[in-house]
């Protein structure tokens, strides 16, 4: 579904992504983990088009999108939810979702977009907040809105950037359920996460990054047993 080959990005002297190879298969939930500064968010920005790579190639559904601007990637079915939730504060929840529904696919009429919002708002449990200003939501509601807005663009592959960060365990559990429901509705998911229980509960496959490189790949238990991964998280035992 998504194929990343030799992707690199430097900021001055810092190598944020170095020859990253990655495959996302249709229908799976793939987790990207790694210590702080490992380059996970940079990878996501490269995938969603907010950053352009220095070298490498990104293919989505068989077509190259390496240089495509963010909106074109969204139209092709690559959705994204942000780590730091950024709702449009002067719009209601309903209007926020409507933006995603209207512009996620070109030439969507208001009528069709409202239908999309109606479906998504039910799925994400935001119906009672439809007319609330997005600037007045709680953190959990913000996170739901962020997810819902991305869903409104009708993605085939959804990129989630630490959407559980800051949630209480019970809330995180709820969010895990939500991501599962999203996958079951036919959306492939790539997510970045710090909370290991969440990774264990959700991921079909895990990719571990450190210093901008992919250092391990496999099931949760495989990577958890990998000495390189332990080293990356706990430091070198010398």
């Amino acid at each position: 579904m998504l194929s990343v080959q030799g992707l690199s990005k430097r900021f001055g002297g810092v190598v944020a992504a170095s020859k990253v190879h990655l495959q996302v298969k249709p229908g799976e939930i793939l987790a990207v983990i790694g210590p702080n500064g490992a380059g996970k968010s940079t990878l996501l920005n490269l995938l969603s088009g907010l950053l352009r790579p220095d070298e490498g190639r990104i293919e989505f559904l068989g077509k190259e999108i390496t240089q495509a601007p963010p909106e074109v990637r969204t139209w092709k079915g690559l959705g994204r939810a942000f780590q730091i939730v950024q709702p449009f504060p002067e719009m209601t929840v309903w209007e926020n979702l409507l933006v995603g529904a209207l512009y996620g696919k070109p030439n969507t009429s208001l009528r069709v977009a409202e239908q999309v919002v109606k479906e998504v708002i039910g799925l994400t449990g935001l119906l009672s907040k439809a007319q609330t200003l997005a600037g007045e939501l709680t953190l959990l509601e913000d996170k739901r809105l962020e997810l819902a807005r991305a869903l409104c663009t009708r993605p085939r592959l959804l990129l989630l950037d630490e959407v559980m960060a800051g949630l209480r365990p019970a809330e995180a559990l709820e969010a895990v359920e939500l991501v599962r429901r999203i996958r079951d509705s036919g959306v492939t998911v790539l997510f970045i996460e710090h909370l290991m229980p969440v990774v264990q509960a959700l991921a079909d496959r895990v990719v571990v990054m450190d210093y901008g490189q992919v250092i391990a790949e496999g099931t949760y238990h495989e990577v958890a047993a990998n000495p390189k991964v332990r080293e990356a998280y706990l430091g070198r035992a010398s």
């Binding site: 963010p70 909106e71 449009f88 719009m91 209601t92 209007e95 512009y103 996620g104 007319q131 663009t153």
Partner: protein, 302 residues
């Protein structure tokens, strides 16, 4: 919406009312208020994408000069259209050059553009330069109220476009661009196209208003037509009336221009002081403008 309709209806029948000895003065003031309100409505359209323009005085001036220069061979209506198109074309160039600028930097770039345009018109010979440019009255003077009704028409058009955009798909794209450009792009909003389109529509309307202004004053000078004060007035009116709305700039424009004219009559130059105090008070106590008094949630369609 109903209010906008009533105001426009009133504008239409105003010349027929028994206005007494003040008739000519009142109609002249009203006409000026219509044009400045149209300019404020145009300015607000661009503001909806988060771009604060100080170039609207220049678009007004470009429309005024273009219409004044093309009216003799082309006729009034075609000349006005050309004025709008010239303003829109310049806005496209300015928009392309300033795409990456936000907030204050964008404002400064538009300010520079405005000054450059004024200097060019001042130095050029075909514009009459510093001496100024006499302008033919609308329709060759055949209709005494010609330019008055043109002003009503331009105001009606600006109001209509503003209302229409407020109900369209574009409304959401513009508001999203203003409130979070990067997020808007990731959600699929073609931010560049949205900004340029808003800029061109906005400048076109400003140019139209300028063209009618030329046919009303019958004389243009670069200092008047390209004055920075006009862009500032459009900004002040929109903030006073209520940003990102139709009723706000429309009502705000009529009130502010009337107030300004009345104060100028009563206390001469001192009017600026009173004007300033009223504005400071309204910004302090009416942060959402006049329409904020009838507050509704969301990006609204007030």
């Amino acid at each position: 919406m109903i209010l906008a309709g009533l105001l426009l209806l009133l504008a239409l029948v105003l010349p027929g009312l028994p206005l007494g000895e003040w008739r000519a003065f009142l109609l002249d003031t009203a006409q000026f208020a219509f044009l400045i309100s149209a300019l404020a409505l145009a300015w607000d359209l661009l503001a909806r994408t988060g771009q604060l323009s100080l170039a609207h005085g220049a678009f007004f001036g470009l429309g005024a000069y273009a219409a004044a220069l093309t009216a003799p061979p082309m006729g009034t209506l075609l000349a006005l259209l050309i004025g709008g198109i010239v303003a829109a074309s310049f806005s496209l160039l300015l928009g392309l050059a300033t795409l990456r600028l936000h907030g204050m930097y964008f404002a400064i770039a538009t300010l520079a553009f405005s000054e450059v345009m004024r200097t060019l018109v001042l130095k050029a010979t075909f514009t009459g330069g510093a001496i100024g440019l006499p302008v033919q009255p609308a329709f060759g003077g055949a209709l005494p109220l010609g330019s008055y009704y043109l002003a009503v028409a331009v105001l009606a058009l600006a109001t209509g476009v503003s209302l229409l955009l407020g109900k369209s798909r574009l409304h959401y794209a513009m508001a999203a661009t203003r409130q979070g450009e990067a997020v808007a792009r990731v959600l699929g909003v073609p931010v560049v196209r949205v900004k340029l389109l808003a800029f061109m529509i906005s400048a076109f309307l400003a140019g139209l208003a300028g063209g009618v202004y030329a046919m009303k004053t019958l004389f243009l000078s670069p200092y008047d037509a390209f004055g920075l004060g006009r862009a500032v007035e459009a900004l002040v009116i929109s903030i006073f009336g209520g940003l990102y709305t139709t009723t706000g700039p429309l009502l705000g424009g009529l009130i502010i221009v009337s107030l300004e004219t009345w104060l100028r009559l009563r206390i001469g130059e001192g009017y600026l002081v009173v004007y300033g105090v009223i504005l400071v008070l309204s910004i302090l106590f009416l942060p959402k403008g006049l329409v904020g008094l009838f507050h509704r949630k969301g990006v609204g369609h007030a």
